[in-house]
C-alpha cells in the first residue's frame, strides 16, 4: 500500500509569549522570529505511517508538503526516517493559510503522484489550528475519512482497523482503503529519532519540487479555492496580575484560597 503523509513546517509552538507577535500588515508572525519545526500532529501522522511500514501494511511512503522554502527541513526529516520520497509544492507563506487553498495544493500533488491507498494528515496544523485540510482532501478525492486516529492496523479482509477517540468514547472503526486518516497525539505516536547515518544519507536524497505551473494550477484557480478571509489577526493584551496566597501553614493557605475563590464567585463550596 502506498501512503502519502501530509506535512507542514510551522513556527516553534513553544516560542515564549514574550517573543511571539503578529505583523498587522501580513496578518501572520514575521519571518524569522523563531525556529520552524515539523508540526506536532504531522509528527504523529509521520510516525503512524512509519509504524504501518514496519508492520508491512504500507510498502511505500511519500512525504508531501505545500508551503514556503523552509518546508525542506520537514521533508529532510521524513527522508531521514526512511520515507521513500519527498515532494515539495513550493508556494508563498500566504498561500498556505486558508485551509481550502492548502488542500487544493496538496490535492494537486496527490493527483500527480502514483495512486495512494492511504493519505495521513495531522489533525490540525499547530499554527493556524484550522483542523480542516485532511478532511477537505478526503472530500475532494471522494474518499472516506476517519479523524483523530492514534492507531491503525490491517485486518484480514484488507480493511484498516483504526482506533480513535470520539467525544471521550474510544472507538474502533474498520475503513476500506483508499481512505484518509487524520492523526492525533498519543504517547504511542512520538516521532522516532532515526539514526545519524540516515540523517546524513537524507541530505543526499533528492526532494522533488513542483511549482503551481507544473501541477497545472493557475493563480486564478488557487484564488477561487479560498473560503475564508482573515480580516484581522492580533495578539490579545491580557493584563494578568497573579495574586499570591500566603500563610503560616498549608491549612491557612488553602483556607484563604478557598475563601478568595468564593469571594470572586468562582467556586461554591459543597454544602
Amino acid at each position: 500500500m502506498h501512503a502519502v503523509v501530509l506535512l507542514k513546517q510551522i513556527l516553534d509552538w513553544e516560542l515564549p509569549p514574550s517573543t511571539f507577535r503578529i505583523d498587522p500588515e501580513t496578518k501572520r508572525p514575521p519571518d524569522g522570529i523563531g525556529p520552524t519545526l515539523l508540526g506536532p500532529f504531522e509528527q504523529n501522522a509521520l510516525e503512524l505511517a512509519l509504524q504501518l511500514k514496519d508492520a508491512g501494511v504500507v510498502d511505500r511512503i511519500t512525504a508531501l508538503l505545500a508551503g514556503p522554502a523552509d518546508g525542506v527541513d520537514a521533508l529532510r526529516k521524513a527522508l531521514a526516517l526512511r520515507c521513500d520520497e519527498a515532494v515539495h509544492v513550493e508556494v508563498d507563506a500566504d498561500d498556505a493559510i486558508d485551509p481550502s487553498q492548502t488542500a487544493e495544493l496538496l490535492l494537486a500533488g496527490i493527483r500527480r503522484l502514483e495512486p495512494a491507498e492511504l493519505v495521513l494528515a495531522g489533525r490540525q496544523a499547530g499554527d493556524w489550528d484550522h483542523g480542516q485540510v485532511g478532511y477537505l482532501v478526503a472530500e475532494r478525492l471522494g474518499r472516506p475519512a476517519v479523524g483523530l486516529v492514534w492507531r491503525a492496523e490491517q485486518r484480514d479482509d484488507g480493511r484498516l482497523l483504526v482506533s480513535r477517540s470520539g467525544n471521550g468514547v474510544d472507538e474502533q472503526l474498520a475503513v476500506r482503503p483508499p481512505a484518509v486518516l487524520t492523526v492525533t497525539s498519543h504517547p504511542s505516536l512520538q516521532l522516532r529519532m532515526g539514526s545519524v547515518m540516515d540523517r546524513m544519507a537524507a541530505n543526499r536524497k533528492p526532494i522533488t519540487r513542483w511549482t503551481l505551473d507544473e501541477l497545472g494550477l493557475s493563480r486564478e484557480q488557487l484564488d477561487a479555492a479560498r473560503r475564508v478571509e482573515f480580516t484581522e489577526v492580533w495578539v490579545p493584551q491580557v493584563e494578568r496580575h497573579c495574586e499570591l496566597i500566603e500563610g503560616e501553614d498549608p491549612a491557612e493557605v488553602t483556607a484563604a484560597l478557598l475563601g478568595r475563590l468564593e469571594e470572586l464567585k468562582l467556586l461554591t463550596r459543597p454544602a
Binding site: L11, W13, E14, L15, P17, F20, P40, Q124, G126, D127, W128, H130, G131, Q132, Y135, L136, E139, P144, V146, G147, L148, R159, L161, S165, G166, N167, G168, V169, D170, E171, Q172, A174, V175, S185, P187, R226, R227, V228, E229, F230, E232, V233, W234, V235, R240, C242, E243, L244, E246, P250, A251, V253, T254, A255, L257, L258, L261, L266, L267, P270
Partner: protein, 319 residues
Amino acid sequence: MIVVARWDAASLGAATRELLGAAARLGAALDDEVALVSLGAAGAKAAEEAGCYGAAQVFVVEGDLAASGNEASLAALAELARELGASAVLLPADERSAEIAPRLAERLGGAAVMHATGIDVSEGRVVWTRPVFGGRALAAISAAAEPVVATLRRGAFEAAAATGGPAAAVSTCQVPTVDGAVELIASEAPQAGESLEDAKVIVSGGAGIGNGDGFAELEELARLLGGAVGASLAAVDAGWAPPDRQVGLTGKAVSPDVYFALGISGASQHLAGIGGAKAVVAVNTDPNAPIFSAARLGVVMDCHAFVASMIEQLRGARQ
C-alpha cells in the same frame, strides 16, 4: 440556520443552549429562523424543550447513526441543510464536530470556521473570532463562501434563556443510507469522569505531581470540588494519566470557572489549552514558573501538601 444538538444530549444541556444563544443573535441579525437538529432518537426530549429556547423547528434524525462512524450523521446533516437552504450550521466544538464540520462545509460548498469564540454582525456581514497559534493570537474571519459551518467553543457564548415561547414543530427523519466504507467495530467508554469540556472546575496535574499515585489524590480533590481531572503533556507522557485527560495544544482546550494547575510549569503548549478558563490557580514550588504569569491566584507550595490540605478543608466543610 441549523443548530446541531450535542450528540449525546438526552435533554437540552448547557452546550446546546449556548449554541441556541449564538444562533438567536445571528438569526436576529440575519433575519433567519433557527432549526434544531437532534441526531438520534435519544434527543426527542431535548427537541421538545428547544422551542422554549428559540428554535422554530426541530428535526430528530432516527436510526442507527453510530454504525458508520460519523458518515451517517454527516450525510443526514448535509441532506437537512440542503433541504432547509441553511445559511449557517452551528455545532459544539467537540471531537465529533472536528470531523463533521469541515466535511459538511465542503459538501455544501461553504466554509468551515472551527472553534469560534466570538460572533459579530455588522451591516449583514458576519465576522467570526477564533484563537490561532495555540491561543496566543486571535483571528477575525469572514467566510468567502456560504453556508458557514461553525463549531463554537464551550463556554464562549451566552446560553439562550427560556423565552416561554411555543413548543417547536417536531419532524422526524430517517438516517440516510451510506456506502459502508466506514464501519464501527467496537466502542468503549474510557474511565468515567466528567468531561473536561463541560467541567466547571478542573484539577490538573503536571510533572510536579511526581507519580501516578499523586493522580489518585487529584481524583479525590476533583470529586470534592465537583470537577474533573486534567493533565499536562508531561504527566500523560509519563503514563500517570490517560491521553484523553490531556489539556493543551496537543490535548483539549477547556473553559472551566477555575483551573487548578498543580505542578505544571506552564509551557506554551499547556497554556494553549487553558485560555478559556475564568481563573487559573497555580500551585508550584518554583515561584518563577511561567504558569504564575497566566494565573489569577497563586500558591508557592508543594503540590502534595496543597492537595492534602485542600482535601482536608473540603471534607471539613462537608461535615
